[in-house]
Structures are given as structure tokens and as C-alpha cells.
């Protein structure tokens, strides 16, 4: 894959980056030819975002060589990256909300006529350049960002999840315009979770796993499986993880009332028509790649955001949450991934655990200290929280902090717990304790919804799993079948393996070519 260097527009070799003892990139390489649309792929934690940050000037690599058109590339900022020939379009539009579009273009010294041309090509011909950015919809902002980048005519254009948040017709225009860059002397690096778009527009794909480049694939019909195989590595061939022991997995009674029911939930463009049931005594796993709408789902269920459509039922009765307090009253408690969102870091373990049951507005009188102490002591014992540094939560380890977050709900008695990636950045021992705790809660009759970015947790802690892709539920998988390979394929919205031979894959690509926009809909092996 390392041809003669002059043939390559971008040639990064052996790029590495460590953060203390953590290796973010071990040895990544990326070779992009002129006139090529090149996909950059990798599962969670593969080092993709670190490599992107290095190429955009956000992070300096420890070692490794990056050449653009044969010249060494080293950038401290996006401005320097741009001078070096690499322009990026980020997931968050880099537009100033309080300025109008024209001022934004002047700010970056972008040619206005060329930007107008690309806006027309991308499907926004009538955009008024005097519109203030704050008033425009997100999809338009992403198109403006892309048009501006195209107008600069960079050597390398890097697109990070460009089609996310775009409606179908704009997605089609974007892919068509990107496809037109082929055969010019410029290149595009295309980062996307949507394999069907990669098949439609990319020439080659570089796959990262555990901080290293593990392969470069020529994209053609049927190469999706090869890409997913490379992302998985040994796991695909390794034995299945032993499912957790549990007595609570008895068959549900046919007439059981779900603890929580979602019917056709819709949130903006991020979540559409999501329906599922969560029963008492079960842990339901949620699997999704980053940004597929799971954040919005949990925001709605925990009362932080209101859905645009659909119904929520708790114990069979319709509910509507205006505030997290409403959700908590209905028995839905939330454990976020980021402990800082949930805890009062400067306060003690005791106060943090007692917080939910001392806050009701109706009860402004003195706190029932002895009753509180009993509940808190019980929760600390149940979760085996290390209380040596109990006076300030911020001095606890991440794992112990997360236990405090869970303990505050356990202390009050849990009916329904919503866990959003609760084991992120936690040591393995504490993870095991948290899995066991979730199983124990389910055994005691609670219902648990668990989103996790670590696919193997599904078999360790869940009874079944639903998979969300592009804001829709695309699969429901029983725990026995939920090995990592199956889950990852489902998360990329690929059909199960036995259905994947050439003819099906090429059919999917043919459909794709006919109607690119319907990417999110194709192959939705939905849950009835």
C-alpha cells in the first residue's frame, strides 16, 4: 500500500500518540491518492478520532511522518492545517452563530462566488447570505460548511459524518458532489458510520483497530463485510462471552404489563418512530454507534427533553415529562456516563446519595437525619463504596463515583433505571460489580435500560438488546445471539451474516445507487 510517495496526495506513516500510559494511536498510517474518495473506518476507541485531530491540527503526534503533496505537514491549529492543504468539515458546524452567512465567509476569507456556486450544487441555491447563522436549521449549516470548504479547493477535504442530520434529498446531493471530486487532483477523506454511503461514494477504505492501521480495502460490492471483519479483528473468531448467570431470566408471563413503553417516539431529525417495551425484572440493552439518536432517547426518557411526537407509557398509563423531576416521580431514574453531570463533586458521599430524597419542594422542613443515615448506610453497604475519601466525591476514583451515582437511586428504591454507558472509563473490577448490581436490581423486580458502547457488556448484563441506527430501531436480538460480531453488524445496519453473500450485498448497493437518500431505511430488519 505504500506506493512511491510522489503518487500520494496525503501520506501518513507510523503515526503514534500516547496520553500518559494510555495509547490512543499505536501505529496508524493513511495513504490517500489524488482524485480519490477515501473512507477512514474504525470501531469505538480504535483511534480514529485521534488521527482526525492530528490531521486537523488539534493534537500533535508523538512520532510518525505526515506528508501532503510530498511536503511535511505539521499543524498546531485548524488555520495551520488549512495552510498545509487539509480542510475539515466537522460534525459541529464551524460557523459563528451571531454573524450572518456572508460575514462568516469573509471571516475565513472564503471566495463568496465559489461558495454560492457550491451551495447551488448542494441543493441550497436560494440561501440568503444575509441570514444570521443562529436562525438557520442544522442541515443548512452543514451544507454551508461543506460549500465553504469546497470553495477553498483544498488538497485534502476531510468530512466527519457529513451526512448525519441531513434529510434524504440533501444527502443525495452531497454524495453526488463528493463523487464528482474523483478524478480531479484533490482528494476527500470520508468518515461515516453508514457503510452503504461508503459503498456508494468511496474508492478505498483504511481500517483502524486498537490504534493501528489493520488494512486498506478496495471498496466494491460486498466489501462491507470485509471492513467490519477488519474492525472486529480477533473477536470475530474468538469464542463467545459467557452470558451472566441469572435467575431473573425466567420467561415473561404473556400478560405481563411493561414497566415502560415507548410508542413511535420522534425527536427532531435524530430519532424517528422508536417503539419498544421494557418489562419488570429485565435488563434491556441498547446498542448504537455514536450519534444514532441514543442520546436523545435517554434525554426524553429522563425528562430532560420533550419528544416531538409519540407516547410514553409507565405501567400502562400515558405520561408526559416536563422536567426530570416528573420522570423521577414516575420511577424513571437516570445514570449518565459523565459522573460530573450527576454528582456534586465538592460535597460528601453522604450528601450526594441523600440528595434525591431531601430535595422535594413540599418538604422544606428539617431533614430527617436518622432516617436518611439509615438509607445511605444501606446503599453504601450494598454497593461496597470505598468511603475512605468520603468527604469530597471528586477525590474518589471514577468507579466509586459511578457507584455513588447509582447508590443514590438504590437508596430510595429503584423501579426503573436508565443507564447511559455507566461503565465508561471505569476499571474492570468495578465494571463487574456494576453488571452484578444491575442483575441484582432486575432480580428484585426493577426494569433496567442499559445503553453501552462496549458491545460485550450486552451478553454480560442484558436479557435482550435493541439496536438503533439512524434514529430507528433496526434490530432486536436475544442475548444468546448477541455476540460482538452480530451486534456490530447490526449496529452498521448490515443484514445477519447468513443473508450477506454477494447477491444480497450487491442488491443493497444497487438499491443504494438508485436512491441514495433512503440509506437509513434500507435493510431495516426492524422489530415489527
Amino acid at each position: 500500500m505504500i506506493d512511491g510517495a510522489p503518487d500520494l496526495l496525503l501520506n501518513a506513516t507510523d503515526v503514534a500518540k500516547h496520553y500518559g500510559a494510555v495509547v490512543a494511536l499505536r501505529s496508524a498510517s493513511l495513504a490517500v491518492r489524488p482524485g480519490e474518495v477515501h473512507a477512514l473506518m474504525g470501531a469505538n476507541g480504535a483511534g480514529k478520532s485521534t488521527l482526525v485531530k492530528i490531521l486537523t491540527g488539534g493534537v500533535r503526534p508523538d512520532h510518525g511522518e505526515i506528508l501532503v503533496r510530498g511536503k511535511p505537514f505539521a499543524a498546531h491549529s485548524p488555520a495551520e492545517a488549512r495552510r498545509g492543504g487539509i480542510v475539515s468539515v466537522y460534525q459541529e458546524p464551524a460557523l459563528i452563530p451571531d454573524l450572518d452567512v456572508r460575514s462568516n465567509l469573509r471571516l475565513t476569507q472564503s471566495p463568496i462566488e465559489a461558495t454560492r456556486h457550491w451551495l447551488a450544487e448542494l441543493g441550497l441555491p436560494e440561501l440568503d447570505l444575509t441570514d444570521v447563522v443562529r436562525d438557520l436549521p442544522l442541515a443548512s449549516l452543514r451544507i454551508i460548511d461543506l460549500a465553504r470548504a469546497l470553495a477553498i479547493e483544498p488538497d485534502v477535504l476531510m468530512l466527519d459524518e457529513m451526512t448525519a442530520a441531513l434529510p434524504a434529498n440533501l444527502t443525495e446531493r452531497v454524495l453526488e458532489v463528493i463523487g464528482r471530486q474523483k478524478g480531479t487532483d484533490r482528494s476527500v477523506i470520508f468518515i461515516s458510520h453508514r457503510l452503504i454511503e461508503i459503498a456508494a461514494v468511496c474508492d478505498r477504505a483504511t481500517v483502524l483497530r486498537e490504534g493501528s492501521t489493520v488494512g486498506v480495502v478496495d471498496v466494491s460490492a460486498g466489501s462491507e463485510d470485509r471492513i467490519v471483519g477488519l474492525m472486529l479483528g480477533d473477536i470475530a473468531r474468538g469464542g463467545p462471552v459467557e452470558p451472566a448467570e441469572s435467575s431473573a431470566r425466567a420467561a415473561r408471563a404473556a400478560d405481563a404489563v411493561p414497566r415502560l413503553t415507548a410508542r413511535n417516539l420522534t425527536v427532531g431529525t435524530k430519532l424517528s418512530d422508536v417503539s419498544f417495551d421494557l418489562y419488570p425484572s429485565e435488563v434491556l440493552g441498547v446498542v448504537a454507534l455514536e450519534g444514532q439518536g441514543q442520546d436523545e432517547l435517554f434525554d426524553v426518557l429522563s425528562g430532560s427533553e420533550r419528544p416531538n411526537g409519540g407516547d410514553l407509557l409507565v405501567d400502562g398509563a400515558a405520561v408526559s415529562f416536563r422536567h426530570p423531576a416528573d420522570a423521577i416521580r414516575a420511577g424513571l431514574v437516570y445514570v449518565p456516563a459523565d459522573r460530573a453531570e450527576a454528582l456534586l463533586m465538592q460535597r460528601s458521599v453522604r450528601e450526594n446519595i441523600a440528595l434525591p430524597f431531601t430535595t422535594p419542594f413540599g418538604a422544606w422542613g428539617p431533614i430527617d437525619v436518622s432516617g436518611e443515615r439509615r438509607k445511605v448506610d444501606k446503599a453504601i453497604a450494598t454497593l461496597q463504596i470505598d468511603t475512605r475519601a468520603a468527604s469530597e466525591v471528586r477525590r474518589l476514583s471514577g468507579g466509586n463515583q459511578q457507584k455513588v451515582t447509582i447508590a443514590r437511586w438504590v437508596a430510595g428504591g429503584v423501579r426503573t433505571m436508565l443507564c447511559f454507558d455507566p461503565t465508561r472509563g471505569i476499571d474492570i473490577g468495578t465494571k463487574q460489580q456494576i453488571y452484578q448490581l444491575l442483575r441484582d436490581l432486575a432480580a428484585a423486580g426493577a426494569a433496567v435500560l442499559l445503553y453501552t458502547s462496549e458491545l460485550k457488556e450486552i451478553q454480560l448484563a442484558c436479557d435482550r438488546a435493541i439496536v438503533i441506527f439512524g434514529g430507528r430501531i433496526v434490530a432486536e436480538i436475544a442475548v444468546a445471539d448477541a455476540d460482538e460480531a452480530t451486534l456490530l453488524r447490526a449496529a452498521y445496519d448490515l443484514r445477519p451474516e447468513e443473508l450477506m453473500p454477494e447477491e444480497v450485498a450487491s442488491a443493497a448497493v444497487a438499491v443504494e445507487a438508485a436512491d441514495t437518500g433512503a440509506a437509513a431505511d434500507t435493510g431495516a430488519a426492524g422489530p415489527a
Binding site: 491549529s77 485548524p78 488555520a79 488549512r82 475539515s88 466537522y90 459541529e92 458546524p93 464551524a94 460557523l95 459563528i96 452563530p97 451571531d98 454573524l99 460575514s103 462568516n104 469573509r106 471571516l107 475565513t108 476569507q109 444575509t130 444570521v132
Partner: protein, 334 residues
């Protein structure tokens, strides 16, 4: 203010379009102008002989605080805040008064230029400390306000010194018609000469960009730190103008900063500058200064106890800002 730009060679329709789009973007300023008219009408009702002479007195009184408001507006637009505006004004005022006392006109010009350079330098120190030490701006500028105030008192511990006659002349009296005070002309010329070209340059856009969204600004290739320092430098410049105006209006140096810092914050909030950064201009704050001064006059004429009149000013500030946010919320929902 911008409506006059490029009028020649445009059809009447185009001019109307420009006016309409300016009005749409500056509804807050237009509202303030309306409020100013209302307050002025009330003033005439309370004091039928409030005329040209009174307006000149008002103009001279507001010039220092108007410069302070412009100074504060610039740094707040860029996403910061400067609590040392009043102290910088005192420092500039005493420095100019001490140096100018008993000297000739030409020397006075040199002093004015020197004091403005001092303002730039002091602003650069403030900005440099905020950007380089990463200590919160509110802490840095509060600390610096003590330092500049102390320095001013070291230079001159009671009001004293003197002002060059031409400096006092330049802002007193009318220009042409008795209804146009020179003080307002000086204010408009200085602010216009600095702000209008700046507003239309990339640097001006960068000030708004950094205040509006730092990450987006960084990703747009803006040197965020440098832009913030420049904002503080400009604030230092206009604070020095405010200090010179104090010397010119009083004829002596004023070593005690008074309440200019907090008045400047009140004026920019009333003037439509968002404390979160990124929004507003300098015309609004200047009009807000005039409105607040007129309200003070009205309350005096109406015979209200001065202690009450301070409270009433506070109530007006909260009332107007609340009304503004209500209107904005309505518009978002509609």
C-alpha cells in the same frame, strides 16, 4: 448610523431595502431610540424650559461614561469583561492632568497621544494576563482595577493638575446650531473613526466570532488568544479616552474612579450587548447612557429623593432587559 453609507448611485428601493435590513438587525437599538424619545418628552413635560443649554450640560456630563460604555461593550462582545475600566479612566485622567498643568498647547497634544498609548499598554497588560495565565477575566480585571486605582492615587492623591485650554474648549459649547453640543460630536467622531472601520474588518468580525462561539472561531482559523488581547487593548484605548474626557470636563485630574465600571456594565446591558458575548454594538450602549442620564434628571426635576432615584434606575434597568427578553422569546415561538 450605517444608513448613509453608499447612498449615491442607489435607487430609492435599494436604500429602503438597506434601511429595512438594518432595522431588522438593530431592533434593540431602535427600541432604545424610541425609549429615548419618550424619556425626552417626559423631560420636556416636567421642565418646559429644558432646551439647548440643558442638552449641552447633559452632553458634557455623559461623555466620560459614554466612552466607558464603548470600552466595556467591545470587551464584552468578544466574550470577556473588564472590571478595571473605571480605574483605567482615573489613571488616564490624573496622568494627563499632571503632565498638562501649566504647559503649552503643543505639549498638551503630545500628552493626549501619550495617554492614549498608555491606555493601549494598560489594556494589553490586562488582556495578556487574561489570555496567558488563564485566570478568569473577572478575577484578573478586578485585581488590576485595584492596581490601576492605586497607581492613580500615587500619581495624584487629591483632584488637581490641569487641562490644556484647547482640550476643555474642544468639548464645551455648541457646534453651529446651539442644539448640537460639541461634546456629542467629539464622541461620535472618535467612536466612528475607530469602530466603523473595525466593524467592517476581519478583526471586527473576529471579535464577534470569539465572543459568539470560541470553538467555531478556532476552527474557522481565528487566533482566539490574539483576538481577545486586542479586545482588551481597545478597551484600554476607550477607557483612556474616558479619562481624558474626565480631565477635559472637570479641568482637573480625577484620581478616584467613582462608579464608572458598574455604570458601564449597566449601560451595555441596557444597550443590547449580550453579557454572554457575540451580540450587540456600541451605538446602543451610548444611547443607553443618555437614557439613564435623562432619567436621573427627570427624577431630580420631579423632586424624588436622590436615594430613591438610584433604586428607580435599577428597576428601569431590570424592567427594560426583562421586557426585551420577553419580546425575543415571543418572536422565537412565533
Amino acid at each position: 448610523m450605517t444608513s448613509g453609507v453608499g447612498v449615491t448611485g442607489r435607487s430609492r428601493g435599494e436604500i429602503a431595502d438597506v434601511l429595512v435590513s438594518w432595522a431588522r438587525r438593530n431592533t434593540w437599538t431602535l427600541g432604545l431610540i424610541g425609549l429615548l424619545v419618550v424619556v425626552f418628552a417626559i423631560t420636556r413635560l416636567l421642565q418646559p424650559n429644558y432646551g439647548a443649554a440643558a442638552i449641552q450640560g447633559l452632553a458634557i456630563a455623559i461623555v466620560p461614561i459614554a466612552f466607558a460604555a464603548v470600552a466595556q461593550a467591545i470587551v464584552v462582545i468578544s466574550g470577556g469583561i473588564d472590571l478595571s475600566v473605571g480605574s483605567m479612566m482615573a489613571l488616564a485622567s490624573v496622568t494627563s492632568a499632571v503632565l498638562m498643568k501649566g504647559q503649552g498647547d503643543l505639549f498638551g497634544v503630545g500628552v493626549v497621544i501619550g495617554v492614549l498609548l498608555l491606555g493601549l499598554a494598560v489594556g494589553a497588560i490586562n488582556g495578556g494576563l487574561v489570555v496567558l495565565t488563564k485566570v478568569p477575566d473577572i478575577v484578573v480585571t478586578l485585581a488590576m482595577s485595584f492596581i490601576w486605582a492605586g497607581t492613580a492615587l500615587l500619581i495624584l492623591n487629591t483632584p488637581g493638575g490641569g487641562a490644556a485650554p484647547w482640550l476643555m474648549e474642544i468639548i464645551s459649547g455648541p457646534l453651529g446650531t446651539p442644539w448640537l453640543p460639541k461634546a456629542l460630536v467629539v464622541l461620535a467622531v472618535v467612536v466612528g473613526l475607530v469602530w466603523l472601520p473595525l466593524r467592517r474588518s476581519t478583526l471586527g468580525l473576529s471579535l464577534y466570532a470569539v465572543g459568539s462561539n470560541r470553538l467555531a472561531a478556532f476552527r474557522s482559523g481565528i487566533a482566539v488568544g490574539r483576538t481577545k488581547i486586542i479586545a482588551y487593548v481597545l478597551t484600554g484605548f476607550f477607557s483612556a479616552m474616558g479619562g481624558l474626557a474626565l480631565t477635559a470636563t472637570g479641568g482637573v485630574g480625577a484620581p478616584v474612579p467613582g462608579s464608572y465600571t458598574l455604570q458601564s456594565v449597566a449601560a451595555i446591558v441596557l444597550g443590547g450587548v449580550s453579557l454572554a458575548g457575540g451580540r450587540g454594538g456600541v451605538l446602543g450602549p451610548i444611547i443607553a447612557v443618555i437614557v439613564l442620564a435623562l432619567v436621573r434628571t427627570d427624577l431630580f426635576f420631579a423632586g424624588v429623593d436622590p436615594n430613591w432615584s438610584t433604586a428607580v434606575q435599577g428597576a428601569i434597568l431590570i424592567g427594560v432587559v426583562m421586557f426585551g427578553s420577553l419580546v425575543a422569546m415571543r418572536r422565537v415561538r412565533a
